[in-house]
């Protein structure tokens, strides 16, 4: 049965599409291949989520080599949930890309753009599906290398510097992760994550394990862009082509957050990470700093893309805050916000891509009077902004609600105030857009554009509509998020 091979196919389909696209070279056929591959990938991811929801963990022996000797692909609800987010984002960005990159990427490079998107998708999904610590590193680098090039494709020359800086920071992060894995391998003699979790219990508390925990946490935090390791993110998102910004904002950091959750709860175990030392307090402090400092920086930006990028760093703080609470409720809030923020920020970047196409830039001088020239896009941006703030009726509200109730459940009442205060900062930076779009006259040389082309507009509006839909009916998202939290918390990957 083909269904049996879904965990491998999830990675293989986009991975094979990439070289195929490079052979084809022409823009239209490569787009069609990419579209087909993302559609299939999304189908597989959705089916895997359905399977894991009903049947628990799926284990797949790569090349029929049994774990722990062979490389095992292992996917449970948590991995499948993030995989669905990633694959869905790929599926939404692909139709958008056809027009979306027309002006932002040189036409002779279009096929490379599609090939790199496929590689990035394969890498990100590989991270989610693999059950092998070193394999995870390889996929991390596959997705990162593709990302560096995608960012460098941006029109502005500063995209090159942004990509270079990200390459330095990203490589240091990945190398720190490999050091951690090396130390774990020395301690346990295995690279299989489930096997490692079992053997770590036997090894107990040793200095090697502690060092490994530190290296992996810092390395992955660099990839998450956890404050203060976020310095690569604003420029990378701001100067990358619009579809790339949207795709990365919704997926890349989220996948890294998944890796961190996996290591904290499944492999090292919550007792080792949170009860034995002050990891929780440190993560809490950094999350709070992330909720405030980048949000304040966002207020002072003059470019909408940069503003959204800083807002991303700030929103990541909410997700890690949920992790730092070390409870099922906290993890569930994290998983919810992971999904809702991917939806919101992906949608905002997609809408903004259409605006950039028409207005020639995302600087506030170009966006002035957007409420008159592109009323629907401006309104969609405001709705997305409301979701960033967490206004009731939007997806952002739901996850903040769960976050606040998780904090109260832990007796941390003061965190409620912190979340509220940080949301007020979001009100200010969203208001800056409202002020520019609705209370300023359009610039004199404005080309009077009209709305973005439909192929860009429909995916963008669909995501913004999703923000509202999942803000009103959160039954599906909360149910899955609850399962994700339970799997991470209670099923330490040992045995079944």
């Amino acid at each position: 049965m083909l269904t049996q091979h879904f965990p491998a196919l999830l990675v293989v389909v986009p991975l094979l599409a990439a070289p195929l696209i490079v052979f084809v070279r022409r823009s239209l056929p490569s787009w069609l291949i990419a579209l087909l591959a993302t559609t299939i990938t999304f189908g597989i991811a959705a089916s895997l989520l359905a399977q894991t929801m009903s049947g628990g963990t799926i284990s797949y022996a790569m090349g029929s080599w049994e774990a722990p000797l062979g490389i095992e692909y292992r996917i449970d609800v948590a991995g499948a949930f993030v995989a669905v987010i990633v694959a869905a984002m790929g599926l939404i960005v692909m139709p958008y890309s056809r027009v979306g990159i027309a002006t932002e990427v040189r036409s002779e490079e279009h096929y490379l753009y599609y090939a790199l998107m496929m590689l990035c998708l394969a890498g990100l999904l590989g991270i989610l599906v693999t059950g092998d610590a070193f394999n995870l590193f390889v996929f991390l680098e596959v997705s990162s290398l593709a990302t560096y090039v995608l960012i460098a494709m941006g029109r502005d020359r500063r995209a090159l510097v942004a990509a270079y800086q990200y390459l330095l920071m990203g490589t240091i992060g990945a190398t720190l992760y490999v050091i951690g894995v090396g130390l774990l391998y020395l301690e346990t003699g295995t690279l299989n994550l489930a096997d490692m979790a079992t053997r770590l219990v036997e090894v107990g508390d040793s200095r090697g394990v502690l060092a490994a925990l530190a290296f992996i946490t810092v390395g992955i935090s660099l990839k998450i862009a956890l404050f203060p390791l976020h310095l690569w993110l604003p420029n990378a998102y701001a100067y990358a082509p619009s579809p790339v910004s949207a795709f990365l904002a919704a997926t890349a950091t989220k996948v890294s957050i998944y890796v961190l959750m996996r290591y904290f709860f499944t492999i090292f175990g919550a007792t080792e990470v949170f009860d034995a030392r002050a990891t929780g307090a440190i993560l809490l402090g950094l999350s709070l700093a992330a909720m405030f400092v980048p949000a304040v920086v966002a207020i002072f930006q003059h470019d909408m893309k940069r503003l959204l990028a800083y807002s991303s760093v700030s929103q990541i703080g909410y997700i890690t805050l949920g992790i730092s609470l070390d409870s099922v409720e906290g993890l569930m809030a994290s998983a919810m916000h992971l999904f809702n923020h991917a939806l919101t920020k992906g949608g905002l970047f997609l809408v903004l891509g259409g605006v950039v196409l028409r207005c020639g830039g995302a600087g506030f001088d170009r966006l002035a009077g957007l409420g008159q020239t592109m009323p629907v896009a401006a309104f969609a941006m405001v709705v997305g902004g409301l979701s960033l703030i967490g206004v009731p009726g939007t997806a952002g509200f739901i996850s903040k609600w769960y976050l606040v109730s998780a904090a109260m459940h832990e007796g941390q009442w003061w965190l409620v105030g912190a979340v509220l205060a940080s949301s007020l900062l979001a009100v200010i930076y969203v208001w800056r857009f409202v002020e520019v779009a609705y209370f300023r006259a359009p610039p004199a040389d404005h080309p009077a554009p009209g709305e973005a082309p439909l192929s860009m507009f429909i995916p963008a509006l669909a995501m913004i509509a999703g923000c509202v839909y999942f803000g009103i009916d959160a039954t599906w998202s909360s149910e899955v998020a609850m399962r994700v939290a339970e799997v991470l918390m209670y099923n330490p990957g040992v045995g079944q």
């Binding site: 680098e141 560096y148 460098a152 020359r157 510097v161 390459l167 190398t175």
Partner: protein, 128 residues
């Protein structure tokens, strides 16, 4: 636990620090990549050294061989070397493009030019 018994770890730590120091302190973009290369190379040593047993041979099944070295770290590091080479190649390619776009590979000068771009409304396109 003497200094000598952990010789390979000391060298690893030294190389890691040297690499990271170069990445952080040099302004020349190529020198930064060299630092990054040293940083990554240190990890190869971290993996390979503990896998080697003194007197151990490659894992060949045969009567005359009794002590084997662990082959897995070598395989892993082979992969890591490939990743490292790819990263370095991409980094150097980016530096070539940066040199074409900015006319310099000095980080301070580039940041200065970017700061100037931020104040003027129309930044130069990178192709032009």
């Amino acid at each position: 636990m003497t200094l000598a018994s952990h010789f390979s770890y000391w060298v690893t730590v030294l190389l890691l620090m040297v690499g990271l120091f170069i990445v952080m302190t040099r302004e020349n973009l190529i020198k930064k990549l060299i630092g990054l290369g040293i940083f990554q190379t240190a990890v190869y040593l971290l993996y390979i050294a503990p896998g080697k047993l003194i007197g151990g041979v490659a894992p060949i099944v045969g009567g005359q061989f009794a002590v084997y070295s662990n082959p897995l770290p070598h395989v892993l590091i082979l992969t890591a070397i490939v990743v490292g080479v790819a990263t370095l190649a991409l980094g150097l390619a980016l530096v070539v493009r940066i040199k074409e776009a900015y006319g310099t590979i000095d980080e301070d000068e580039i940041l200065l030019m970017d700061a100037r771009d931020d104040t003027s409304p129309e930044p130069e396109a990178k192709d032009g």
